[in-house]
Subunit: 312 residues, 2 copies
């Protein structure tokens, strides 16, 4: 298995990315390689400085980068030699089994849709985030930003995608799928959620448990929470800000610790024809390591094939 890692992506690239790669390598099997895509000279310097086992790594050299603020579609089209573009080219050609980056999220989404493309039957890929639960364990929230405007069909599909991720990668059996809404009753909500509820209730493609509200995000009542990407992005960033506030104020707590994005490694983009993971821009080596391991888990759990079968 070869996992591609964009070492030019993220606020602390390339150093954090290469250091994270070194840590990831320590837990990979001998037949699992990391392909570092970016400035090879810098990468090899960092590996040497850290006495890293070179056998784990392959290199694809480029110095072209898609910046965090660049327009995704323009950048993907205009920078074919950027680390992200090269990663997707290799993923499409089967030289990589997964690709991960803490770089420009939009470019990762667009790059994935342009190269490996969306799985037939999936209308729109979705981005996920992990939500810690007060009673322990975790939930999955999606979409958190890939699709600002959604239709009921999209939300139904997000429920299926999230279920397969929960089952395959997080070992949650028959995941309970909830609809993020503004009331518990079926008739509550905006036009989108009102139209989505009956679709979710009537399908046998997922295990629907009804509406949840903002206050239920950390509750034990669901495994997968579905919303449009606008709502999900607001939720994600608001939850992050709470965590940052509690950190700054010095509050220590087992539950709050689980908000630390580092341990989850990144957000899978679900619905593409290959495993793709996007890391947080501020990823440190620990986060990069876990992003790579998440990509590995997506390959090993055969998630993409399961999604293809579900949408066949």
């Amino acid at each position: 298995m070869k996992i591609g890692l964009d070492i030019m992506g993220g606020d602390y690239a390339p150093k954090a990315a290469v250091l994270g790669a070194i840590e990831a390598c320590k837990v990979l099997s001998p037949n699992q390689k990391l392909v570092l895509i970016g400035d090879r000279d810098i990468a090899e310097d960092i590996l040497k400085q850290n006495n890293a086992d070179q056998a784990c790594f392959e290199f694809v050299h480029t110095t072209e980068v898609i910046g965090m603020g660049e327009h995704p579609t323009k950048a993907i089209v205009q920078k074919p030699n950027s680390s992200i573009s090269l990663g997707f080219k290799m993923l499409k050609e089967g030289q990589l089994q997964a690709f991960s980056s803490a770089g420009n999220t939009g470019a990762m989404l667009v790059g994935g849709m342009f190269s490996v493309k969306t799985i037939p039957g999936v209308v729109r890929p979705a981005m996920t985030t992990i939500v810690p639960k007060l009673k322990g364990g975790l939930g999955i929230l999606l979409d958190v930003g890939a699709n600002a405007d959604c239709k009921p069909d999209n939300l139904l599909q997000f429920g299926i995608l999230g279920s397969l991720l929960a089952e395959s990668v997080y070992n949650i059996q028959t995941p309970r799928v909830a609809l993020m809404n503004i009331g518990e009753e079926e008739e509550k909500g905006n036009l989108l959620t009102q139209a989505t509820y009956p679709l979710m209730k009537d399908t046998n493609l997922l295990n629907f448990v009804g509406n949840i509200e903002g206050r239920d995000l950390f509750s034990d009542g669901f495994d997968v929470a579905v919303c449009d990407g606008f709502t999900g992005n607001v939720i994600l960033k608001l939850a992050e800000s709470f965590y940052v506030i509690t950190l700054k104020k010095g509050f220590k707590d087992e539950f709050l610790d689980k908000f630390n994005y580092e341990q989850y490694g990144g957000s899978p983009i679900l619905g593409l024809n290959a495993p793709v993971v996007v890391g947080h821009g501020i990823s440190n080596p620990e986060a990069i390591k876990n992003m790579v391991l998440l990509a590995k888990n997506m390959v090993e759990s055969n998630l993409i094939e399961k999604i293809k079968q579900a949408f066949h």
Copy 2:
């Protein structure tokens, strides 16, 4: 001035409502009366038990209640003698200058729109909530649930309504109005926020400062944050849940203390032809007291007249 208080509304009614009324009376002027609408016998018992000054109170007796779970429109139509219906009848007839309740929020909204009606020019009334700021002070978020689906015009009007509330009741000069979005740049967002941004940028009816994101909710960069009622309701309930979690975990902090809804008293419904405040269902006497005082401040600041002029 006569302020109507529904003593049948709220999870701890009528006791919490009457006890809150007693506390409010202690800070009202002699010419300011509280009209307690609900079960007069119970109210008088509670007043006597607490040796309350009866001169502050007037009574409108009814035992009919709109329950928290009732369908708002049906309940308002079918229960003309409910405490909420009677309050709005008096408000419409000028027997009250403001009306407040911790009861069924939807019924308060529908009751207001049916009785005193929406101010000419205002397309949809909005519900607000107070957002504490990390650096001190507060912001206003609207809409938090009155309008699950919004058009750009609605959001523009919410900005104007929120500005007038901030200025009149919270003494914030030239309030900075921000659009809740999923990116800082003008072109970011869903169809709604993308269409709203230029409207807000081009108007001289409010002081637009651009987009904010979920992570900026407690920042110092705005005074009024505008969003559709679906997004606002999810934000409100998520923020409440964080506060509840920190409370349960015993974290103490000046900033977190400001999340306590009790001190804000309730949510004004903006855009109606009279001051109307809805309290939290779980309102205790302190919250009820502050709800009444907020209603008083809305009357004294002449907020409704200012809104009428702005939309003239």
